[in-house]
């Protein structure tokens, strides 16, 4: 019991203002708090706990430990835009990728020799497998309604098997297309 009172006292007075209409209670709590703090080994303005570190325990990875900087070439920009089917929009977008790569390069200071890659936190659990039978269906209409362009029971797409135009032409195409 005494323990829990002390705990309350340790925590509550830190509020820089009293609750409305509970001045007297606050004072009483503050009194308890003094008693508790005095009995604590290190009493000063706030309660210490030696287990909590007082200063940062690590520093960011230093640049000199990283592999050489990777510059993203115009060819790579083109390749990524074709693969991702999104555009960098401007030079700032490219610089942003370079920064993202630089940030990721910090991985290389970690020794991962003989470490198995982890792709799921459920790797040791047996997961439920349902019977391979249809439980739902008959919702083609609901699903088709969500599309902008359909014909009978088909989604309608423009002509396929045409590669994206070259970069300059592509920029022009996208420039005119805003939401």
């Amino acid at each position: 019991m005494r323990g829990s009172q002390c705990v309350a006292a340790l925590l509550r007075p830190a509020r820089p203002w009293p609750r409305r209409g509970v001045w007297s209670l606050s004072r009483r709590v503050a009194h308890h708090s003094r008693r508790c703090l005095n009995s604590a080994p290190s009493s000063s303005r706030h309660v210490h706990n030696a287990k909590v570190p007082r200063t940062p325990t690590w520093q960011p990875v230093h640049e000199t430990l990283l592999p050489p900087v990777i510059h993203v070439s115009p060819d790579l920009v083109d390749k990524l835009e074709r693969l991702a089917l999104v555009d960098f929009r401007n030079q700032e977008g490219v610089e942003c990728l370079e920064k993202a790569i630089r940030f990721a390069d910090q991985l290389h200071v970690v020794n991962t020799e003989f470490v198995e890659p982890m792709d799921s936190v459920l790797e040791d659990s047996s997961l439920y497998l349902r019977e391979d039978t249809v439980h739902e269906g008959q919702c083609a209409e609901d699903v088709l309604q969500l599309a902008k362009n359909t014909l009978e029971e088909y989604f309608v797409a423009p002509p396929g098997n045409i590669p994206l135009p070259k970069r300059e032409e592509r920029s022009a195409m996208l420039k005119n297309s805003e939401f």
Binding site: K51, L85, L127
Partner: protein
């Protein structure tokens, strides 16, 4: 049942709802408040706090209809469950049948799903009343709720007058809500709903919960179904729970948990019933203080709260001991690579053909895809997709993606080692400092901010562990400071028991807006 009595203790009265200290669910069942009145008051609160931009859509008509149905059931004495008639909100990346679901992106503007996410359906099955969909960073990518196509979310504490101090020394600036579930956190903090669903991939529920001063729970991976949660990083995403009280989070978790045939990654989990009504014997609890969680940039105020709570736990009889999670520093880097890679894959589904936005460029299928994605995604989303595609290139796959998966195992192993050594919970800060101002926060880009803000939260997602953020004090600026408790896998109940104890000790102040006092006085005793 006992759980019903502690349900949703609405100690913080909704404006005009004069029952401080009474559980709202009990008040509903005893007829002291009607479900329609409660719903109306919440909707009124949403209108009054419109400037927070917490909601993307408010389903006023539907909510009133659900409230009327709940009221009839309650009058007949046949409530569907503890939450019958209780208003809630949902982050706008959970599918809701017949209600627009946007992910705060132009890509999904106007998208109305034909089904409910499992977690949403479970709340509706309980009779809970859906008020609306809450704001977020586009596709949940961010840590500020500043990158939404519907505009940024404001932190309610920025507008509060708690303790007679007004809105800090911010001038015309305001504090951010944190993210990406900033709308959900702001909605619960501003008392416009009793609970909100968020999502947590690298801290997206705990971060805004911490900055907005509400309880924010990220359960063990696999306990809650992800079916209907529009995916960001499948191997880390979990639905999150934001409430005013720890016991509320426990009740909601108990309702939502369980295997789902529609999500093959769900697993059975132990029941939580009456989890928090038993007295917790702290002398049987060992609390670990991970030394690496004093990271560069941790604010002195937050560090002080961390120390104070550690001291309080020790004073109450808990064993508090130093532990080491040596790979903590590398976790955020690993997260960055895995997140971008999974995003690159997940975002491939948005092509304009089947649902969502479709560009008018029709010269070829690829041109349609490229133009649709150009128009629909913001810079943040596009940049993550491009970085992910880079990490997944044939020549980079081993060097970045597989390397990150290896580091992920080291991080998960760090946690396992500590929990196997007899530690029950870990105590850490949730964020480096209290909520920054909008002007300050937006001086750096989204990627930089996420790597700073998620430093304490994402390691847990790597390992699939449960964690909860609990507000413990207000900073000198009058903004919440919160601490995080981390549990071992499937120990959500133990985690919440310690969080419940902590919450009772710290007595975090109640938010109060201008005008609330008069309204409360008018209705008290009625």
């Amino acid at each position: 049942t006992q759980a019903g009595i502690t349900a949703l203790r609405a100690a913080e009265p909704l404006k005009g709802l004069g029952w401080p200290g009474n559980p709202v669910s009990v008040a509903l069942r005893e007829g002291r408040v009607s479900a329609t009145d409660l719903c109306r008051k919440c909707l009124q609160r949403i209108r009054e706090t419109h400037y927070l931009n917490a909601y993307i859509s408010v389903t006023e008509e539907l909510a009133m209809q659900q409230a009327e149905e709940a009221e009839l059931r309650l009058l007949r004495g046949e409530p569907r469950g503890i939450l019958d008639g209780v208003p809630f909100s949902v982050k706008d990346n959970f599918c809701t049948q017949g209600v627009e679901t946007t992910c705060a992106s132009l890509m999904l503007k106007g998208y109305t799903p034909p089904f409910n996410a499992t977690v949403v359906q479970k709340l509706l099955d309980q009779g809970a009343v859906l008020l609306g969909k809450t704001n977020l960073d586009e596709f949940a990518m961010g840590s500020g709720s500043t990158d939404s196509s519907f505009g940024p979310v404001r932190n309610p504490w920025s507008e509060a007058v708690t303790g007679g101090r007004s809105s800090m020394e911010l001038g015309s600036d305001w504090a951010i809500a944190g993210g990406s579930s900033g709308g959900s956190a702001a909605a619960v903090a501003s008392l416009s709903c009793y609970l909100s669903l968020g999502s947590d991939t690298g801290g997206s529920t705990r971060n805004p919960g911490a900055l907005c001063g509400v309880v924010a729970l990220k359960p063990t991976y696999g306990v809650l179904s992800r079916h209907g949660l529009i995916p960001l990083v499948n191997s880390m995403d979990v639905p999150g729970i934001l409430t005013r009280r720890v016991c509320d989070a426990a009740i909601v978790l108990d309702i939502l948990r369980g295997p789902d045939e529609r999500d093959s990654t769900t697993v059975p989990s132990p029941a939580l019933d009456c989890a928090l009504t038993e007295e917790l014997d702290l002398t049987r609890i060992t609390v670990g203080i991970p030394q690496e969680y004093h990271a560069p940039g941790l604010s002195p105020e937050t560090a002080r709260q961390w120390e104070r709570v550690a001291a309080a736990l020790a004073a109450a009889g808990a064993r508090v001991r130093e532990v080491s999670l040596p790979h903590t520093q590398h976790s955020i880097v690993c997260y960055h690579v895995l997140c971008c890679s999974e995003v690159a894959s997940n975002m491939a589904r948005f092509d304009g053909l089947e649902y969502g936005h479709r560009s008018s460029v029709e010269t070829s299928t690829d041109a349609l895809y490229a133009a649709t994605r150009h128009e629909g995604f913001n810079d943040v989303v596009r940049r993550r997709i491009l970085a992910g595609n880079y990490f997944l290139l044939k020549q980079n796959y081993e060097r970045y993606f597989v390397k990150a998966q290896q580091v992920r195992r080291l991080i998960a192993d760090d946690f396992s080692r500590v929990f196997c050594s007899g530690v029950d919970v870990l105590l850490t800060p949730t964020t480096l400092c209290d909520a920054p101002t909008y002007t300050h926060f937006t001086q750096e880009d989204n990627r930089t901010r996420s790597t700073q803000e998620d430093v304490f939260t994402q390691p847990v997602n790597m390992a699939g562990l449960p964690a909860v953020s609990v507000p413990v004090a207000l900073s000198a600026r009058g903004l919440p400071i919160s601490l995080q408790l981390i549990g071992s896998k499937m120990q959500d109940k133990k985690l919440l028991s310690v969080a419940h104890w902590l919450e009772q000790q710290v007595d975090f102040p109640q938010i109060c807006f201008r005008g609330d006092d008069e309204a409360r006085e008018r209705t008290q005793g009625v």
